[in-house]
Symmetry: C2
Subunit: 201 residues, 2 copies
């Protein structure tokens, strides 16, 4: 039996922080791990900026609810889910992902969480496990699933390589060149065909 694991950002939805920065009008929030490679430090800095702007979880979710999945993502998932179970494996936070996951038809998402005060202030981020995507793929393999996975970036490579079939999607030319063994697609129709070809053996 197969299960398909999807990275979320850039694959099914825009990058949340970049879109958040644009929609909220707080340009410095588009800083990413390319600017600050220490993710923990970056997240503490981001939460500090939210606090400075008086944005609690409710305000943040209101902004995120204005972000839409990538065009075609919902239709693609709906069609795929007729035949196969899917889960989203993401390094984002459940409370941020919520509004986007609803727009994607409520697939299960395994990610991280936030510590939130009763008044809505976001106090801290809590990472569930290191190598979270690889760990999840191994967990599904441990219960006899064959895993197909789809991702776009460096933090997806472990997951893609541990899967029976790993596909790059919406990625860069450099990622494609550096990982020639991973088939790469840029549109949902081609990705759908590649996944169903694996399912049909």
């Amino acid at each position: 039996m197969y299960i398909v694991c999807f990275d979320m950002e850039s694959v099914l939805t825009p990058e949340i922080w970049i879109e958040f920065s644009r929609v909220s009008g707080i340009p410095e929030l588009c800083r990413t791990t390319r600017d600050e490679p220490d993710y923990d430090k970056l997240m503490r800095w981001r939460l500090g900026i939210l606090k400075e702007h008086g944005l609690g979880i409710q305000e943040v979710q209101e902004v995120i609810s204005k972000i839409d999945p990538l065009p075609g993502a919902r239709k693609f998932l709906d069609k795929l889910r007729e035949d196969i179970q899917i889960v989203i494996l993401s390094d984002t936070f459940e409370e941020f992902a919520g509004p986007l996951v609803k727009k994607l038809g409520m697939p299960t998402i395994l990610c991280n969480s936030l510590e939130i005060a009763p008044d809505g202030e976001i106090l801290a981020h809590k990472m569930r496990i290191s190598h979270s995507k690889l760990s999840a793929v191994n967990a599904f393999k441990s219960i006899n699933y064959n895993v197909i996975s789809v991702g776009d970036s460096y933090n997806d490579l472990e997951m893609l390589k541990a899967s029976e079939a790993g596909f790059l999607f919406n990625t860069t030319e450099k990622m494609k060149q550096d990982n020639p063994e991973l088939p790469a697609f840029d549109d949902f129709d081609s990705l759908y065909s590649a996944i169903t070809a694996v399912l049909k053996g």
Copy 2:
């Protein structure tokens, strides 16, 4: 972080084979593991009966699509999923569960599968893994989830006991008496309160 694992039949939906027997008008199909304790033998017998009646997967799914979830189940899940990830752990088959899972709002279901011929004939059943519910709970624990689980019958006990919180739901007086350490509920409101009490610590 928490995840909630649900048994499906008797908890969120009726027993599929009993309802199938009723809706399809094939009374002998309400035979269960109480009559034939060897599940593998029972399933081969059931598939033989389907074949005798000329019922392929399409006809079977048409019958199953007439079965509804238990009253209140969808509303309960929708409300719960605002706050927490859920999965269904079931010993049924993906192809049978499909129409019911749609009516439940498309939660992820981890179960078994059928081998189906191109003409729709159901050839065989394929069990993914032994102790499938316990294995799934352990898989989620391996990636640092705290598991809450809900079930009604003997084949749920391993799952319930391996979880941080295990709840009996819609079960028999005998199950309640034999497992006094497992809180038991008979309506979705009480179950919702019990689950959210765990989430809030």
